[in-house]
């Protein structure tokens, strides 16, 4: 059995860690002095050496991303923290911000110092009221203590942080869409290159990092590269917050080293299946990652292993479905999400998600045709890799994987002119 770790979640049970006095009692903001004593380039190298990979879904090496920032452009460098957590099944960043908001502020300060940024933005979901209050208060307290603003702790380093609220759009979790939104535009992705590291916010070099990623940085500065690498695998080191939800007894966030098998998260941490039901399918990283089955439960939850198993680690969000969930209805629910959230910029995604929603609706309603499954697979082919951003790719994940593992269930819907699950647990709509 893998032991849970207590790093990013170590202050969550404290109950008062959101107050700056308590946070500093718990060694909070200790990474500032350590960081300010070093050359920024050295800090970037430390993050590179740590092997920290982005926790927002893509898993790109954070130090390398920082290293791409264009130098000497005559423009400022911006750090934008992506706190727009919206991937279905994912709820780690919001709990972190609610329970330990200073951890994000501290991470923002030392990360900004490392990359030479004096103006950071935290883009936080509009719909998350508690997280918003907590983070806003934490930023205010940090300013009062002189941990933000001019000449922080006599280091000569200045940093302004602006909390910017989203207004309801999943797509704004995509980094170029997020930057468009922050510039006051519709949240639509941009074609890359140029990457944000060269031309990002206000056309200046910009790095966009996820909440969990940024909150990991102070730990690396304080505890060192070897300590960080003592957890996880060679290519996926460190602790990770896993969100487990769906048909489990104890849904919640659980912190384990990367590489922990899903079985331990589901059967162990989350208390096993709800009502002793049998597992049918699960996502490793939210609805945008291909579903896996009971056969994959021993796959280590790291970027490489999950990819070898045919899916993606994504945000590390396990949505667990039991045998009594209709897979067509599950796909229908997810596809409605993507059709609703597609920003409309790229035709394959905008049109394709809507077509798939219609086809799944008719399959579920008993009007499915035998050729519908091929049509769905065709549409997925036409979307995948043919849109500016990953939303389109993600929209194909549930359907492609469901057809791979549960094709017979689709056939049953056609042959039986309806859903074999009858009183299914997923509503098609409120009206």
């Amino acid at each position: 059995m893998t032991e849970p770790v207590s790093v990013l979640s170590s202050r969550w049970r404290d109950g008062r860690a959101h107050e700056i006095a308590r946070y500093t009692d718990l060694d909070g903001y200790a990474s500032l002095d350590l960081a300010f004593a070093k050359d920024p380039a050295e800090l970037v190298q430390i993050v590179k050496d740590s092997g920290l990979r982005g926790r927002g879904g893509a898993g790109f090496p954070t130090g390398m991303k920082w290293g791409f920032l264009a130098k000497g452009t005559g423009r400022p460098i911006y750090l934008v923290v992506n706190a727009d957590e919206s991937e279905p099944g994912t709820f780690k960043d919001m709990e972190l911000v609610e329970r330990d908001p200073h951890a994000l502020v501290e991470g923002t300060i030392v990360s900004a110092y490392a990359i030479g940024c004096q103006q950071a933005f935290i883009y936080l979901r509009g719909e998350c009221g508690f997280a918003g209050r907590r983070l806003s208060a934490a930023i205010g307290q940090a300013y009062e203590r002189g941990l933000l603003g001019r000449d922080i702790k006599g280091s000569g380093f200045d940093l302004e942080v602006v909390l910017h609220r989203g207004a309801g759009a999943y797509i704004c979790g995509e980094e170029t869409a997020l930057l468009s939104s922050l510039e006051g535009e519709r949240g639509q992705p941009k074609l890359r290159p140029p990457f944000p590291a060269v031309e990002g916010l206000y056309r200046a070099p910009t790095t966009v990092n996820n909440v969990e990623t940024i909150a990991s940085v102070p730990w690396i500065f304080r505890q060192g590269v070897d300590w960080f690498r003592s957890m996880g695998t060679e290519k996926s080191p460190g602790p990770k917050l896993f969100s487990v939800c769906g048909d489990v007894r104890r849904p919640g966030n659980y912190e384990y080293p990367l590489g922990t098998p899903a079985r331990e998260l589901i059967a162990g941490a989350a208390g096993g299946m709800l009502d002793g039901k049998e597992l049918k399918a699960w996502t490793p990283g939210g609805s945008s990652t291909p579903m896996l089955t009971a056969d994959h439960l021993d796959t280590p939850m790291d970027f490489e292993s999950i990819q070898r198993a045919g899916s993606l680690l994504g945000t590390g969000a396990l949505i667990v479905l039991s045998q009594d969930v209709c897979i067509v209805r599950a796909c229908l629910n997810f596809t409605r999400f993507y059709a609703h959230e597609s920003c409309g910029k790229c035709t394959p995604c905008r049109e394709g998600t809507d077509w798939m929603w219609k086809i799944l609706t008719r399959l579920e309603g008993g009007q499915g045709r035998r050729e519908d499954m091929d049509t769905l697979a065709d549409i997925c082919d036409s979307i995948f890799g043919r849109s500016f951003c990953a939303l389109g790719d993600g929209a194909t994940s549930p359907i492609v994987s469901a057809l791979q593992y549960f094709r017979a269930e689709f056939d049953q819907h056609v042959d039986g002119h309806g859903c074999p699950f009858g009183g299914a647990r997923v509503a098609v709509g409120a009206h």
């Binding site: 109950g15 959101h18 400022p76 919206s86 279905p88 099944g89 994912t90 709820f91 960043d93 919001m94 609610e98 329970r99 103006q119 979901r125 509009g126 719909e127 998350c128 009221g129 508690f130 918003g132 209050r133 907590r134 806003s136 602006v162 909390l163 910017h164 609220r165 989203g166 207004a167 309801g168 759009a169 999943y170 939104s181 510039e183 006051g184 535009e185 519709r186 949240g187 206000y202 969100s243 939800c245 769906g246 048909d247 849904p251 919640g252 966030n253 609805s287 969000a317 949505i319 969930v325 629910n333 997810f334 999400f337 959230e341 647990r425 997923v426 509503a427 709509g429 409120a430 009206h431």
Partner: protein
Amino acid sequence: MPLTEKTLASADELIARYPERRSALLPLLFLLQAEDGYVSPAGIAQVAGLLGLTRAEVAGVATFYNMFRRRPVGKYLVSVCRTLPCQLRGSGEIAGALCRRLGVPPGGTDPSGAVTVEEVECLAACDGAPVLQVNTENYERLSKDEALALVERLLRDELPPPTLAGDGATTELSTASLHWRLAGVGDPPSELAGRRPSPEGSGGELP
């Protein structure tokens, strides 16, 4: 004008906060919504003027985001998650029951202007499924009957505490207060707390 003289000072503060003026657009739309209960046509014109944008540019942004409303929203906005983890735990039935109780389709507001009910996508709190929000604060793991009882109280202008009240969470007293908060200019003025937009709004829908 939709943004009063007092609010305009906050608008100036927002515009000054960003390296480029246009970045203040989303916060300004929240500010407008705090005043008018929705993004009113007159407000769009005013915001466009403040930022040097066309009305079409502002309306194009306003209609992109779910939280900007094209009709006046009730004092209490009840948002029910409809994404899979919540629907596995009955959120679909809850949304249906609330709509029937209020006699409105999803997105509708009861005739008194007290409660708007809507279905929304994943709220990043799936461990609390089924998740329902009042003014963006979570009320988790409610049964259908508990959700109906919550709405009855909202209709009587009573606001029960959210799930994480013990941890310090509080629910904004009105959508007007909520939208002020989202604009990012500090605590909402007390006069917004009791505001209940008239169902007719102040000037029709967006063009």
